[in-house]
Symmetry: C2
Subunit: 239 residues, 2 copies
């Protein structure tokens, strides 16, 4: 917990890092605010393990003080395209994408992720936890809403030894909460993020190329288009 | 998720089960309230793996509909006698036991445990989560307090797909919260709990005998004494 390049006087943040566009932008925002970075990546039997490689590359490029990879077993929970053998939906209509809770929903996922982050924040004496949830493009996920983040903040204020002893509090930061995908990308580009390192696809090919047709790819490609920017990540030829 | 002995019309509860005295009593209380039981046990690198065997025996004896054992890796978090190589304190004074946050504290442990329970409750369409936390004998643990449980209830009301869609809500039940150890034991005995199956010791011997001297053993033994009952669990000869 005391990595060699840790700086005792610098404020610290645990940043949830999947290796995707949103979490990488969040990492860049935390860095821009002067935080020493403690990246936290979950290995949860997701099919797109290519994301894990992306997370490692991103963490390395950002020079994080530590990168934790925590194995968690969500496969036993079933019911999600991200962890089980259910087909990832493609070419869904805008209305379907904006109103349905997607089949890619994992029960209580962000609750579990933030719980681990809270534990690690206590161990690392971090002042903040950064999470790249977004309520605009992912309105279907219950645990991506502002009221969910607020409720977790209340819980965090009660849950730890440090909070009870008054020695430290942890702030839950969700800087992307109210941004559109295009705004997120513009923010990241302004901060120098190399989006070629990031992976967002729910159904990438063996060599890591994005499918271009799942909800995540379509939101990402539209975001770049709205920014008049080109997505530098690799895609399959005919989505 | 659909065990062969599941009864579709019966209400269901996820019960956090460590194999200790408190969680086993909690399981008995849930059963007495008519719930079909879904036991959830964490394998978190605790030194007292004898608890795991106790949890399996208890789950089997109670005829649970399912018993999930979820591996979680808390060792990376460090700083706890329950998961690391720190000596378990013994023969502490009553004042030390009642006021200090023990070295056996695991950061954000109950937050993580309840998060998993919430996910599993959603998958199993359970109406309740039972947790055997206690604010009387374990006042040192921040995540054993009533306000922590209340905050998690608020979070649970926001965190799941079922809660958002209005199809189901999950109630967090902590029936031991305000009971003394003696009251917990009396309640369990009245419900027919065989405490000889349960294990509470932080530092058991190889053959599973309790040490009799750690905080957990002393609270337990005092509880039985206050009930004028004998603890049927095995102890080492000279604590």
């Amino acid at each position: 917990m005391s990595p060699p390049n840790s700086n005792a006087s610098q404020k610290r943040a645990v940043v949830l890092l999947s290796g995707g566009l949103d979490s990488t932008t969040t990492l860049a925002i935390a860095r821009s605010q002067g935080f020493e970075l403690y990246a936290l990546t979950f290995k949860y039997g997701q099919r797109h393990a290519v994301e894990l490689d992306a997370a490692r590359t991103v963490a390395s490029r950002f020079g994080v003080a530590a990168h934790w990879e925590v194995p968690i077993d969500l496969r036993a929970f079933g019911n999600s395209a991200l962890t089980a053998e259910i087909a990832v939906p493609k070419h869904r209509s805008d209305e379907e994408m904006s109103t349905d809770i997607p089949v890619t929903y994992v029960p209580a996922r962000n609750t579990i992720f933030l719980s681990y982050a809270l534990a690690l924040a206590e161990v690392a004496t971090a002042q903040a936890i950064f999470i790249g949830v977004n309520a605009v493009d992912y309105s279907g996920y219950p645990d991506c809403r502002p009221e969910f983040i607020a409720a977790f903040q209340t819980l965090a204020n009660l849950a730890t030894k440090a909070a009870v002893e008054g020695t430290a509090t942890v702030t839950i930061e969700a800087p992307l909460l109210h941004l559109t995908k295009a705004q997120i990308i513009a923010r990241g580009l302004a901060l120098g993020v190399d989006y070629g390192l990031t992976r967002s696809c729910y159904d990438p090919s063996e060599n890591g190329a994005a499918c271009g047709a799942c909800d995540s790819c379509r939101l990402r490609l539209r975001g770049f288009a709205d920014c008049n920017a080109r997505d530098p990540a690799p895609y399959v030829a005919n989505p």
